[in-house]
Subunit: 192 residues, 2 copies
DNA sequence: GATGTACTCTTCAGCATTGAAGTTTAGCTT
DNA sequence: AAGCTAAACTTCAATGCTGAAGAGTACATC
């Protein structure tokens, strides 16, 4: 076995270690700001891991889950066009075409031409697709309840209010939200 | 032009609209929990958009930025092996090989064999790579300061403390953090 | 000191995504 | 109604990732 000396290990540092490293390498850093930002990133990464395990347990992919979510939230009769879906999910229409192909094969949605306007296509949720979404939501609800378990009602209110305040600020500064989100949502902001 | 009637638009709903849609489609939902979880997701997405614009402005990719970050945080002399980097970033060693190829070509890192243990490779930050990281950090600091601008010191303390409490809980429930993170970190948890 | 085993990195085939070009349809203008 | 423009979707080449197989090196044991 190779000796482990020489080069640092690849294990993830704790939040405290990471903040200490930032302070060491970059003096102009407010540790409190860094703590909040890093915790937000890490929390989101963990949440995504949890959601992904849930969808895997249901036999669907994350890609499927995103599409199901958009369709359900659009309301009955759960129909959207491919390019609307693409905009909603931050994908190109080309990628949407392939996703829909797969989901039709899996029986989660149907695809048909819009007879009223034959250049359009209608993607519609199947009952099986709706059921998958419901199952995923039931799992997600359990996870989210556990996540927030330690927070009192007053704390939840305060946390929600502060997060919304942050969101408003960043949305004001960044009015053009949509677009290319896929490159970005990697474990990218991990702590900067 | 096609009429816009018929099928819903692809624009992103507001947070309030989205929570209302969840309540309509899924009765067993705690709106307060949903508010916190959705706000966390959206906030993270916006943060990633901001970071991505910054790296683009500096002429590097998000992939480059992640590698630079890992190397800098490892501390002087800013050296890591490809597989340590891969573990740290949640990529396969194969992907790491290609990223390093690109970054060597860009002059951000160097690659050489470890003469003490010739099966290993040493990836080392160049001065240019370190400078890029510093520039990115300066931009990130400005953004993060703006983001938290509306929060009083007491609120920042409270927010940081609550986020860390949530993080501890999810880390306890999910001890195996690393691994396949790239599929997951898409705009996936967007609100579930 | 020869063989076996483990580990590190690279190469290769398969898949999802992007950006751009291509196809079909709708609506506008004359 | 012929032609122009715009829009929705699909097809195609290129890129980056995964998972698995392959090549090279070091350590352990016999």
């Amino acid at each position: 076995m190779g000796d482990t000396s020489g080069i640092g290990a690849g294990t993830e540092p704790t939040l405290e270690e990471q903040i200490a490293a930032y302070q060491r390498e970059f003096q102009d850093l407010d540790p409190q700001v860094e703590q909040i930002v890093s915790a937000l990133s890490r929390l989101n990464r963990r949440m995504n891991v949890a959601y992904s395990r849930q969808t895997a347990a249901l036999g669907i992919t994350n890609a499927d889950w995103e599409v199901l979510k958009a369709l359900v939230l659009s309301g009955a009769p759960y129909r959207m066009g491919p390019s609307d879906l693409a905009k909603r999910l931050g994908l190109t229409p080309a990628a949407m075409t392939h996703r829909i192909d797969r989901m039709v094969a899996e029986g989660l949605v149907t695809r048909k031409r819009d007879e009223a306007n034959r250049v359009r296509v209608i993607v519609e949720l199947t009952p099986a697709g709706r059921e998958k979404w419901l199952e995923a939501m039931r799992l997600a609800t359990v996870f989210e309840g556990n996540l927030l378990q330690d927070l009192s009602p007053a704390e939840r209110t305060a946390l929600g209010e502060m997060l919304i305040r942050l969101l408003r600020r960043v949305e004001d500064a960044q009015p053009d939200a949509g677009g290319r989100l896929n490159d970005l949502d990697e474990n990218f902001g991990q702590g900067a």
